[in-house]
Symmetry: C2
Subunit: 209 residues, 2 copies
DNA sequence: TCATAGTTGTTAAATTTTTGACACATTGAC
DNA sequence: GTCAATGTGTCAAAAATTTAACAACTATGA
């Protein structure tokens, strides 16, 4: 068994991926940890250490091949396969996710939105239908869904999340402002707590004064 | 000068705040680090250590007074003052922020949205007007704005951010998928990179298999 | 009033994360 | 072909973070 890679490293990988993408757009073919370090404002040592967790992608005296490294990181992060997303809660935030082309380019495709508001039902976002939440069981039996994004009030989040898990969803992108209490602990949860982010910003404003 | 508090601690504070709020709702008056530890799934030691960075809020043999601690953390995070927010980019995400009552309860009030799309101009979200971006200078001269939320395509983000900073905005909540290149380094930036979050989720899905 | 159980603040140890250093491989100029 | 310059992978040191341990203090019930 290979050794566990820390979440600290995982959190940094998307940023490497982003910078490598920009380098590709600029037509840069190779880059050293030192040059990348200067761009990203992190130490070259950290870059080498991080990448080495997954394999020796570089070459002494040459550096890293930008395109190759970009693709390898993509594979590591699972971007070589399509992930289907359903969005629970078709308010502004849910619609924003469905609308965001960037996710699709990364292989994350929204295949359906769900809400309890009949007024929204029947509408489509970029061709993606908004459906009634009580039809979710049928939908999931017919579609292959990897991720459920929860963009709904926190009061129902636990119940809905557990229902989804029971129906086979094994990953939740949680925008509701609670820590989900899931019965099945094998489910992968990624929280996006915007209020928390805002509070951190607020703290740093005070600090900077 | 008091010693610097690490961002690792700051990241955890909003979560404490949230749990304390829930305890208040439940009518709980006091709590020990041990009981809180059990609820939050972090070590009691970490809770005590974290809180102690800001002062001795507890009492031996008693624990922490929930309401008092809640208010103290609120003050630490700057929630005792109102923060006015402008949102640049009045798409779904921008509108979601303007619509989210939760932020307002925490003292973060959206006072205006801006966009370059004339079709949106004139609309209002919960009474908050959407205005043309080229009127921002006038708006900022007349309103006290603390935070600018950037919910717009990354291509223009740098330019707009620097313009805002020049006009006196000193904190940016950045949803654009770039690391802002700001000329003034005293500006506080908090990034929300949703694609990064999604990639982490994706990685953890693979890992869990 | 006293003894016991409970609980913090704080110091020290353990662990994790980051940074530094360098042997050794590769490139590119001449 | 030679050699200086470049640059990785890796090991060790340093720094930061987390956990454990405990002395000192408080609440509570007999």
């Amino acid at each position: 068994m290979s050794k566990e890679i820390s979440q600290a490293v995982i959190r940094r990988m998307p940023r490497y991926y982003r910078y490598l993408g920009e380098l590709i757009d600029e037509g840069v073919e190779r880059i050293s940890s030192n040059d990348l370090s200067a761009r990203m404002k992190v130490t070259a040592s950290q870059i080498r250490q991080d990448l080495n967790n997954f394999g020796g992608f570089g070459q002494q005296g040459y550096g890293y091949n930008v395109k190759y490294l970009y693709e390898e990181i993509g594979k590591i992060m699972g971007l070589d396969e399509q992930h289907n997303i359903i969005v629970i809660g078709a308010g502004n935030l849910g619609q924003a996710i469905a609308n965001y082309m960037k996710f699709e380019k990364l292989g994350f495709v929204t295949v359906g939105l769900f809400d309890i508001d009949p007024a929204l039902c029947g509408k489509t976002i970029r061709g993606i239908p908004i459906m009634m939440l009580d039809t979710i069981e049928e939908f999931l039996s017919e579609h292959d869904v990897d991720i459920a994004a929860l963009t709904m009030p926190k009061s129902k989040a636990d119940a809905v999340a557990n229902q989804l898990v029971k129906l086979g969803v094994h990953a939740i992108w949680n925008f509701a402002h609670v820590d989900l209490d899931l019965l099945d602990e094998n489910v992968v949860v990624e929280n996006v707590h915007l209020s928390d982010s805002l509070m951190q910003l607020s703290y740093n404003i005070i600090k900077s004064k």
